[in-house]
Symmetry: C2
Subunit: 146 residues, 2 copies
């Protein structure tokens, strides 16, 4: 809706982001596959890192329908990576919790993301600091707008 002046730098940065998104996405998918997880399963498992979550909240975080999460959690549960627990406060709610095995899997997966090492290795300590601040500010802006 807003008609800004055409800063030639902006589309250029957007294309770079798009390319980086592609690289990141591919690497994530491969790291997951190496542990026989799909990308979606890895994402859900990753969300449980800080503790159990209700189905609904998982769906909300991933911007998808709750019915979709049912299937993904089914498959994770079938493999013993995750558990459904009843919420004592509200019996409608089922909290999904990572099992011991599940937690180990995500920790391992996160540690294996080479994306960290290789592309970032091209930057000096100072530049990483710069990059962090720039990204942080973009993200804040994005969150403010949603």
């Amino acid at each position: 809706m807003q008609e800004e002046q055409p800063d030639p730098l902006t589309p250029e940065v957007v294309d770079l982001m798009a390319a980086l998104v592609g690289v990141f996405h591919k690497e994530y998918e491969e790291a997951a596959a190496a542990r026989s997880l799909t990308g979606a399963q890895a994402k859900v498992l990753g969300l449980l890192r800080r503790g159990p979550l209700p189905m609904r909240q998982i769906a909300q975080t991933l911007s998808c329908e709750p019915s979709n999460i049912t299937g993904i959690v089914d498959r994770l549960e079938a493999r013993g990576l995750v558990e459904r627990q009843a919420d004592p406060e509200d019996r409608r709610i089922k909290r999904v919790a990572a099992t011991e095995t599940g937690s180990a899997a995500t920790a391992e997966l996160r540690a294996s993301l080479n994306f960290a090492r290789e592309p970032l290795a091209a930057l000096s300590q100072d530049e990483r600091l710069q990059l962090r601040d720039l990204l942080q500010r973009m993200l804040d802006q994005a969150r403010r707008q949603d």
Copy 2:
């Protein structure tokens, strides 16, 4: 395989990248959906921006099986966004070309990516320049490693 010292900045930057990738991905998907395209269809259509491409090359660029592209192109073709043309040099090859309508759709979609405006709006001209250079170098590094 490489055991680097644990630079505390690196995982932090990786998490930021992951978050930004999430935002970007979501916005792309929504922009595509607003034109009744799926993400995959939009990606393929976007590749044809600079001219027709053989099926195989599309598959290679998107890192997926050629048989997958067949279906996506089928659906794009059914909607008149894309055409299969025979290659005069090698009759095994089918080149996929965006139609008039198809080109218009991608141009529009690209233009609509607000990701450009909003998060980047938080940065000054100078900072965008910095960001571009940092991203460019990361990407070069990532490509060198693949």
